[in-house]
Amino acid sequence: MAKSKSKVILIVEDDEVILRALYLSFHEGEFTIATATDGETALSMTQRLKPDLVLLDLVLPKKSGFDYLKDMKADPVLKSIPVIVLSNLGTEDNKEKAKDLGALDYFVKADTDLSVLVQKAKKVLEKNS
C-alpha cells in the first residue's frame, strides 16, 4: 500500500469498550492507530512499530502499565516516545509514580473529555515532529 508514513498512535487498553471508543476518537484524525490489550503485547508492539505516541492504561493484564513504562523508558531506542496515561487510578501517588517513570501527561478516565485528550495528543505529536 503506497502511503506516506503518518503518525502512529499505540493505544494500550484492556477494556474493549474503551479501546473502541478511543479508536473512534482518534480515527478521524490523520493518525494510524495500533492497539494492544495487555502490557506484554504493548511492549512488543512498541518495539516493532516505534509509535509516535503511546496512550497507556495502567491496570493491564500480564504486565501493568507501570512495568511497561519502566521497561520502555529503559530501552534507549524507545525512551523518547511520549506516553500519555489514561487510567482509572486517580490518586496523586499513582500520578506521581507514572510521571516519575516518564509519562508525559496523566488523565483520569472519570474526569476526561476525549476531545481534550485528542487535542493533547495532537499537540504532543506536532511538537515532536
Binding site: 502511503k3 469498550v17 473502541r20 492507530i33 478516565k109
Partner: protein, 275 residues
C-alpha cells in the same frame, strides 16, 4: 455529539470499575446493591456502546510496520468474552423489550385479538344418549315431543370481539329455544324465539372455553305453557381454529425464554471455543 457519546461510554466504564473496586470491603445489603448497580450499568453500557461494535472492527485497525515499510493490518486481541457478554445482554434486552412492546401494543393497534376462525356449518352426529342425559339435567325431560312445533334450524354462527360466538337460527315463534353445544362436556343454553321466528344465543368463551376443533350444535324449541317440545333440529357443527397470531401471542413467553436459553447456550459454546 459523537464526543459526548464517547465520553458517556468512558464515564460508564469508569463507573463499573469504581463500583467493582468498592466491592472489596463491602458486605451485606451494600454488596448486593453494588452488584445490582454494576449489572444495570453494564446493560446500559452494552446498549450505549453497541454502535461501537458495529462500526469498529478489528479489520479496520492498521499500522505502519517499519520492517515492511508500509501499512498492514495489525492483529490485536480483543476480548471475545466481553463482546459476548455485551452482545448477549443487548440481545436479551431487545428480546424482552420486543416482548413488552408486543404485549402492550398489539391490543392497542389491532384491537381485540381475533383468536378463532369459524368455518362454515356442516352436519355431524350427536349421540342420542348424550342428548337424553342433558335433557334430564336441564329439567325438560318430561316435555313431550310433538311434530306440530316447528323444528329449529341453524342459520349461522359468528364470533364477536374475538372471543365469543353467537349462534343464529329460526324456530316456532314465541317459544323457548334450547341449544346444546358440545366440547369435552356439553353446555345447554336457552333463548327466546321472537315473533318473527328468529333467535340468537351467545356463547361466552370465558365461561366455557371451546377447545380447538369441531363442535356440534343441536336444538329444539319448547313451549312452556303446553309443556311440549319440538323434535331435535339437524345436528350441525362448527370448527374452532387457532390463528397463527394467537399462537405467537400465546407463546410469546415461551419464545422469549427459548431465545434467552439459545443465546446463553450459544454464548457458552463460543466461550468454550475461545478457551
Amino acid at each position: 455529539m459523537k464526543t459526548a457519546w464517547l465520553n458517556l461510554i468512558l464515564r460508564l466504564s469508569n463507573q463499573i470499575y469504581q463500583r467493582k473496586q468498592l466491592l472489596v470491603g463491602q458486605e451485606g445489603v451494600q454488596i448486593i446493591w453494588n452488584i445490582v448497580s454494576i449489572v444495570l450499568i453494564e446493560i446500559l453500557l452494552a446498549i450505549v456502546s453497541l454502535p461501537l461494535y458495529i462500526s469498529v472492527g478489528s479489520q479496520k485497525v492498521t499500522a505502519f510496520l517499519e520492517e515492511r515499510g508500509g501499512y498492514a493490518k495489525v492483529a490485536f486481541d480483543y476480548k471475545l468474552r466481553r463482546i459476548l457478554t455485551l452482545s448477549g445482554t443487548v440481545v436479551i434486552a431487545v428480546v424482552w423489550g420486543l416482548k413488552l412492546l408486543l404485549i402492550l401494543l398489539v391490543p392497542t393497534v389491532f384491537g381485540p385479538l381475533p383468536l378463532y376462525y369459524v368455518s362454515d356449518l356442516r352436519p355431524p352426529e350427536l349421540s342420542s344418549q348424550e342428548q337424553a342425559a342433558i335433557l334430564e339435567e336441564a329439567g325438560i325431560q318430561n316435555a313431550r315431543a310433538v311434530q306440530s312445533l316447528q323444528r329449529p334450524e341453524f342459520t349461522g354462527v359468528n364470533k364477536t370481539s374475538g372471543k365469543n360466538f353467537v349462534f343464529y337460527g329460526t324456530g316456532e315463534p314465541n317459544t323457548m329455544v334450547v341449544l346444546f353445544l358440545t366440547d369435552q362436556q356439553t353446555a345447554v343454553y336457552t333463548g327466546t324465539v321472537d315473533k318473527n321466528g328468529a333467535w340468537s344465543i351467545e356463547h361466552g368463551q370465558k365461561e366455557f372455553l371451546l377447545s380447538e376443533g369441531n363442535h356440534s350444535l343441536s336444538a329444539f324449541t319448547y313451549n312452556k305453557q303446553s309443556g311440549v317440545r319440538s323434535d331435535f333440529s339437524n345436528t350441525q357443527y362448527f370448527k374452532v381454529k387457532t390463528t397463527w397470531l394467537d399462537l405467537v401471542v400465546r407463546n410469546v413467553d415461551v419464545l422469549a425464554n427459548l431465545s434467552v436459553v439459545t443465546i446463553i447456550l450459544l454464548g457458552a459454546f463460543l466461550v468454550i471455543l475461545t478457551i
